[in-house]
Subunit: 242 residues, 2 copies
DNA sequence: CAATGTGAAACGATTCACAGCT
DNA sequence: AGCTGTGAATCGTTTCACATTG
């Protein structure tokens, strides 16, 4: 095996984040979130170093999978020792793009939209809900707190006319949109959002939506999960096997 | 190949629902929900018969996959013709266990719990939210509508003391529970629910929960979906590739 | 010498392609 | 003639197992 000029890489031992060595599967990225959450827990407990082995046992994961997932992005571990909790945590935050705030708009100021706007964990993390949009004049102009029974320790999010979305999306520099509208209007709302140049959408409507492939739409589908549970209950196995 | 006594099956041409020919994957069951939703749409449009081909094109699915998924449960199609929309719809409803109502309790009467309780699509489908549970005395005794800004066309769901869950779960014949509590209390809430004999849980807390394997826990994790979108936005590909 | 990083093996899900039925 | 139901081929994901390394 001859050593060609290009074989010498002056890089650090970590793969640079900007290089895209291969396509990372969604299974992997979702697990990265789980690893990050678990690391937060470990940091809280003061654990400074952990092996993939004990990490896996602690949070019931698979150690080989942890190593493989992490190895896509760099060599974060130390052989014979394990991973530095805090360093790995920071790496994951960067990989997931959580090192900066994302400005989120919510379309639909019904029960779900308001609950989302007031959901505490958004703010604790890297997402800021900066605007709500609705087409109901009774809601427009109010804030999420005036409409809801939420606690008073934050300012609430203003509800705008959805017709102003195209201009406001730009002005407010929205990066992400959550769709909390009825199924019937979900596709047209998405079309509007796409038209405004938004590339990341979280859809709560129980519908398969169509979008250009450079727009990432993630559907959180309550109905499907419920029906999946219903299927499970309907299986003879549930009771039969004691 | 000798014909033994047991080889003669007096069954219809459909696999009986009680037999478990092989383990059905979750990927398949989730798609069954999607097929059902699509069939509802077709019924509405008056389409009486459809081939897997046109079904796939209409809802962007894969026709071979549709046929394979359905074939796990019986021979629902007619060669040369396709599937009878209405008949297939009824089959899926039965397979998914949606031919009877499921009584659901929600633990946690915060923003999310209330939004869930007032969510219209539950009632439209086969799920009845019959009780909310909370540990906040300010909430206990109220109903979901008194606490929320929801419309007045239904009676609202009563909020009970979570300490009464074990007895009420039995009295109200709860079959499913939705966990809408903070992450910190999710595991202990689940333990209580499991202890009460509930076998199907929909978890909204951003946590990996532990449960016996005869209890099905489905986590709807907003945080993971958001972080997955954030990762997507952080990829150079999003803008770079024009 | 303990634990990573990683090819190779195993497993599982999707898609192909066609025999067989109506 | 047309479409289902399904083995076989393909593709992707997970797990194994070990050479490599601090």
């Amino acid at each position: 095996m001859s050593l060609r000029f290009n074989d010498f890489t002056p890089d650090t031992n970590e793969k640079t984040l900007s290089m895209k060595p291969e396509k990372i599967s969604e299974f992997t990225t979702r697990r990265l979130s789980i690893y990050l959450r678990s690391l937060n827990q470990l940091t809280l407990e003061g654990v400074e170093t952990i092996s993939s082995q004990s990490f896996a046992e602690r949070f019931n994961l698979n150690s080989a999978q942890i190593r493989k997932d992490l190895a896509y992005f760099g060599e974060f571990g130390v052989r014979g020792v394990g991973y530095d909790t805090e360093a790995l945590r920071k790496h994951l935050i960067e990989i997931l793009g959580l090192n900066r705030r994302h400005r989120v708009g919510i379309i639909g100021a019904g029960n779900l939209g308001l609950a989302l706007a007031n959901y505490k964990n958004w703010t604790a993390s890297s997402f800021n809900v900066v605007a709500l949009f609705d087409n109901d004049t009774a809601r427009i102009g109010k804030t999420s707190l005036a409409s809801s029974h939420a606690s008073k320790n934050s300012d609430g999010v203003k509800i705008y006319d959805v017709r102003d979305f195209p201009t406001l999306a730009r002005e407010l520099e929205l990066e992400m949109v959550a769709l909390a509208v009825p199924r019937e209007t979900a596709q047209s709302a998405l079309d509007m959002v796409v038209e405004a140049g938004i590339k990341a959408v979280l859809n709560f409507a129980p519908a398969q939506l169509e979008a250009p492939e450079d727009v990432q739409v993630k559907t959180v589908d309550l109905t499907i999960s419920l029906e999946s549970l219903s299927y499970f209950l309907a299986q003879p196995t549930s009771d039969e096997v004691k």
